[in-house]
């Protein structure tokens, strides 16, 4: 199937005449078409959330983890190709450990995300490798406050107030831009994040979804942990109720 990159997209070591490396862009598409993932930095911490569709009824819920603890003070979600993502998580864990051993201090998040970006970028320099089809959405809370970083497959890494990747990201990003995340606590933001994820779902079908949530905040003693089940359920239920309420209000207005 020939696309925009005909002929120039066969190897990662080829530039197109416009200066694009198509293989790297295609790797980015693996992330863009992946599971919706959101990261927000709030007043008292940072949250990561990933919405996963149920692949099969026979799979135990919670067994296909997408969010990993990289160090006590850092966690990561890996949208896109999960096996590629696990490679990044493993590397991140090593970076954190090595930094601590050599410098005596926990790794600053900026340093970690720069190193991961360089790691992802390295895969795009050699003919015998392919770029990783996963991004690293990092959440941390250190002396400089809560951080959300996105290290992309093409090697860039930026810090965000809030960011979404994967399916439906445009809608989620629009919602996030409306919020004053800096004034919200993590608890409050959890409900909003769930709302964003639920709203962008395809409504038809009886497909079941599971929202995996993790945070690092004052409430969790500044450790990166999964959001406790009861808190997560409460946030999801509250989000669903709000969406139903909004639907009712809008249908009232129409009639």
């Amino acid at each position: 199937m020939s696309g925009a990159g005909s002929g120039y997209d066969l190897s990662v070591t080829t530039f197109s005449p416009e200066g694009r490396v198509f293989q790297v862009e295609y790797a980015g598409k693996a992330v863009d078409n992946g599971v919706p993932s959101v990261g927000v930095a709030c007043k008292d911490g940072a949250i990561l959330a990933v919405e996963k569709p149920e692949e099969t009824k026979m799979m135990l819920p919670g067994s296909n983890r997408r969010i990993f603890t990289v160090a006590k003070h850092v966690g990561m979600a890996v949208p896109g190709k999960l096996p590629d993502g696990r490679q990044i998580v493993s590397r991140a864990q090593q970076e954190c450990e090595n930094y601590k051993r050599f410098y005596g201090n926990t790794i600053p998040t900026k340093v970690l995300s720069d190193r991961l970006a360089n790691y992802c970028h390295a895969f795009s320099l050699y003919w015998h490798l392919r770029p990783l089809g996963s991004a690293a959405l990092t959440a941390s809370y250190d002396d400089n406050g809560p951080h959300i970083y996105l290290s992309e497959t093409n090697g860039v890494s930026y810090r965000y107030y809030g960011i979404a990747v994967g399916k439906g990201r445009q809608g989620i990003k629009t919602e996030l831009e409306r919020l004053k995340l800096g004034n919200m606590t993590c608890r409050e933001a959890l409900k909003t994040v769930c709302k964003c994820l639920i709203k962008q779902r395809d409504d038809q079908g009886s497909k079941k979804f599971e929202i995996e949530m993790a945070w690092i905040c004052d409430e969790s003693d500044r450790q990166f942990v999964r959001v406790p089940e009861d808190v997560a359920k409460e946030a999801e239920d509250a989000a669903k109720r709000e969406i139903e309420q909004e639907d009712e209000d809008s249908s009232d207005m129409e009639s």
């Binding site: 050599f102 410098y103 005596g104 201090n105 600053p108 900026k110």
Partner: protein, 235 residues
């Protein structure tokens, strides 16, 4: 080079490593808001003083300094490596390093190279933790302490510091404490002498001071400097 021969040389006897040897007194004391580092200036090869005005306090980066004792060659090499790695660390993090990070780098060098004869003290100031002192004796231990002393002359002043150090000293009091401590060691240790160099590091940076022979505190029993009127000296 075995650690045992290193220790015997440290006592100020004939030099076992066959090179310039900073039989020395080095001190660092932390106070609220910074640290004071002090050292004598004598470098000896056996009984010959090869340098009577050396600088044993090396700058590792803007806010962290290193006091060196043991083999001059070993400690200079280590300090060059630590400066190199620290400078790379600053490039990566884009900010001043914590004293702990620099001390950890030194620890990696020391502990991984057991043949080295280097007893050092890392001290400095960073805004997050204030003034910090890390002792790094022979063998590569790294331990954070309120004050640290090393070198052959340090054996004579443990009790002095045990008695005189207290928390809550001011900058001037700490400088005076360090000065008098080194003066005591220089009075008794043949391998320590010359000038006293002081470096104080606080949030505004590092201030260096050199205390010449005649200004070194006179310890009871010491001979006054030549040319002083003996009648004016209180014995």
């Amino acid at each position: 080079r075995r650690a045992s021969s290193a220790v015997s040389s440290m006592q100020g006897g004939p030099d076992a490593s066959g090179g310039p040897h900073t039989g020395t007194t080095i001190v660092a004391v932390a106070y609220d808001g910074g640290v004071v580092l002090g050292a004598d200036s004598r470098v000896s090869t056996g009984a010959y003083v090869s340098n009577r005005a050396s600088n044993k306090i090396t700058n590792l980066c803007d806010n962290v300094f290193l006091c060196r004792s043991g083999s001059a060659a070993h400690t200079e090499a280590i300090s060059d490596y630590v400066r190199f790695y620290t400078s790379q660390h600053v490039s990566e993090t884009q900010q001043q390093p914590s004293v702990k990070s620099v001390a950890s780098i030194l620890y990696q060098m020391s502990y991984s190279n057991k043949g080295l004869m280097a007893a050092m003290i890392v001290a400095g100031y960073d805004p997050a933790s204030g003034g910090k002192v890390f002792g790094s004796p022979i063998g590569g231990t790294l331990v954070e302490m309120p004050w640290a002393i090393e070198g052959s002359g340090s054996t004579y002043i443990w009790s002095y510091f045990d008695d005189e150090y207290k928390e809550g000293l001011s900058r001037e009091e700490t400088e005076e404490l360090v000065l008098r401590g080194i003066a005591h060691a220089m009075a008794r240790d043949g391998s320590s002498g010359g000038l006293i160099r002081l470096v104080t590091v606080d949030k505004d940076g590092a201030t260096k001071r050199t205390v010449q022979g005649k200004d070194v505190p006179l310890i009871l029993g010491d001979m006054p400097e030549p040319g002083t009127n003996a009648a004016t000296v209180v014995w």
